[in-house]
Amino acid sequence: MAADRTIGESALTRAVLITAAVALLLLLLVVPLTLVFVEALAKGGRAYLAALTAPETLSAVKLTLFVAAVAVPLNTLFGLCAAWCIAKFEFRGKEIVTTLIDLPFSISPVIAGMLFVLLFGARGWFGPLLVRHDISIVFAWPGLVLATVFVTFPFVARQLIPLMQQQGTSEEEAAIVLGANGVQTFLRVTLPNIRWGLLYGVLLCNARAMGEFGAVSVVSGHIRGLTNTMPLQVEILFNEYNSVAAFVVASLLAMLAVLTLALKRALEWRYRAELVPASGVPAS
């Protein structure tokens, strides 16, 4: 149609805008990411492997995997429960619950970490009680898990709520009238309908859990080989001018990011109809 040709900008304007956007992307995203790998391999593959197998690095990798392995399933469960309640039932105070779920997004992670120190630290509210029973939360792995759970709480729930709201409750009602009990309804009807959305949420939750710095930094205490996760290890190595080792650990995190992105894209491409994109999920 003739009208279509006149809509939009001239070819020159378009070329300039696209070039600017691509240049900016290259400068801010692609170059730094490439640089991480270039720096990590600056002294050759052997040095890369050596840095990777250094005991402190290995323990940081293990701790990160452990924290994610606890926090992500917990948040998957919490997220499912929260989304199920909010999307499928009407109750008083629903708005408040919805707002609370978003709280971790609006609080600076450092503040979140400080809250846990304030609660469970030696001089915190529960400090004396914990000391008496010889339980350490802050400056130990339980603190890292708590901080990570807090920071990554919204990812699964935020992904599922719009999806479940859009799907409504009629399939569940159909299942109930046909004789299904609650568990059967959930496992056979609700869960299959949200599986790809759930996977997507878990993926984002996991990426954030492994990459979290601020909250974890406050509660960790930076005990080498004991309470340092990968992002904390990067900082320490970098501050010690051990840039190769720092970039080696950073490259692992970067690979995780690339892998997450690839999986996320694959899911979006394959199951677009079954993923209602949650809007406004801030990046870490």
């Binding site: 009238v177 004789g179 009807v189």
Partner: protein, 363 residues
């Protein structure tokens, strides 16, 4: 199975969705619940199914108190308005669902379930479509899958919420006749909700008309059409002209005419209800209820629809095309009108009818 409903009420916040409903549905009856949107008909259906709990009242299915029974123990099949098929399951798995989730000691074997699914798909004329997903079916096919799925658990009562609402006209008419046959063949007790009066009148043994959470009237289709109990029912069943008039000493006065009214209608403002096909058009000088001027004509197949200016009001009349042509109707022509049947209702409310007056062909 019979269904007995007594004094059933349900509120959503301050709104009464159901207001002291009494209704008894006989065994093997095909009952239509007809009403405008928001009249409470779907809520009533959901209460029967156990998907909503009433605030007060009683519900008995087959003589047994059913309010304490969970939905699965009520032996009810429910067909949802938008079918609510399990979108991630194939058609055959949808139909088999109710059988597969039975507790192990009641669950038929795989082979029996497969056979039953095959029978049901044949029953709803969907042979060979078991491997499709719901998204790959047309509206009418989805509707029949929903029906097969509901029938799989051998319910005694079938509840259908606007079963034909989302279908185009031709499919709708075919499907509803087929459903009626199925109902008779399987010996079911069926209740369906609709806002389409034609559907209700054609299909049902008995129609219950709901308005604002209350039942206005129940009766056989012919009975409620011929003897509507309230102004609401008269207005809701088919098209109707509503003429304001003033009743004085047993006579209703219109713009340029007067008619006797039945006994019992108090003096004061009232409405006369006349259906378009109950208006006879005659030559102007033969007039009984006054004259009117033709405003517009439209020909709909074998019939002619005539819009008339009658005083300050527009009347719609409906005549056979041949008759209309014979009168030489054209915009601007003045004609005489006669009302064959008029129903009067007092203006203030929709209280039970004061009665009706049959004028006969002579006026």
């Amino acid at each position: 199975m019979s269904i007995e409903i007594a004094g059933l009420s349900k509120h959503f916040g301050a709104i009464a969705a159901l207001d002291r409903i009494d209704l008894s549905i006989k065994d093997r009856e095909f009952l239509a619940m007809l009403g405008p949107s928001g009249s409470g008909k779907t809520t009533l259906l959901r209460v029967i199914a156990g998907l909503e709990a009433p605030d007060e009242g009683a519900l008995a299915i087959d003589g047994r108190d059913a309010l304490d029974l969970p939905p699965r123990e009520r032996r009810i099949g429910f067909v949802f308005q938008h079918y609510a098929l399990f979108r991630h399951m194939r058609v055959a798995d949808n139909v088999a669902f109710g059988l597969r989730i039975k507790p192990p000691h009641l669950r038929p074997s795989r082979r029996v379930i497969a056979e039953r699914v095959r029978e049901l798909l044949a029953l709803v004329q969907l042979d060979g479509l078991g491997d499709r997903f719901p998204a790959q079916l047309s509206g009418g096919q989805r509707q029949r899958v929903a029906l097969a799925r509901a029938l799989a658990v051998e319910p005694r009562v079938l509840l259908l919420d606007e079963p034909f609402g989302a279908l185009d006209t031709k499919v709708r008419v075919e499907l509803r006749r087929w459903l009626r046959t199925l109902h008779d063949r399987l010996g079911l007790t069926s209740v369906f909700v609709t806002h389409d009066q034609e559907e209700a009148l054609e299909l049902a043994d008995r129609v219950a008309i709901l308005n604002a959470g209350r039942i206005e009237q129940t009766g056989a289709p012919r009975e409620i059409y011929d003897r509507p109990a309230t102004a609401f029912v008269t207005g809701f069943l088919g098209e109707v002209n509503r003429l304001p008039c003033r009743v004085e000493n047993g006579i209703a006065r219109f713009a340029d005419a007067a008619l006797d009214v039945p006994k019992g209608l108090c003096d004061g403002e009232a409405f006369a209800f006349v259906r378009p096909h109950e208006i006879d058009l005659v030559a102007a000088h033969e007039s009984a209820a006054g004259t009117a001027v033709v405003r517009a004509l439209s020909v709909i197949g074998p019939r002619t629809r005539i819009h008339l200016d009658h005083g300050d009001h527009v009347l719609e009349a409906d005549a056979e095309r041949a008759a209309a042509d014979a009168l030489g109707l054209a915009p601007g022509v003045r004609v005489g009108i006669r009302f064959r049947t008029v129903r009067f209702y007092p203006k203030a409310n929709g209280e039970p009818a004061a009665g009706e007056r049959r004028c006969g062909s002579g006026g």
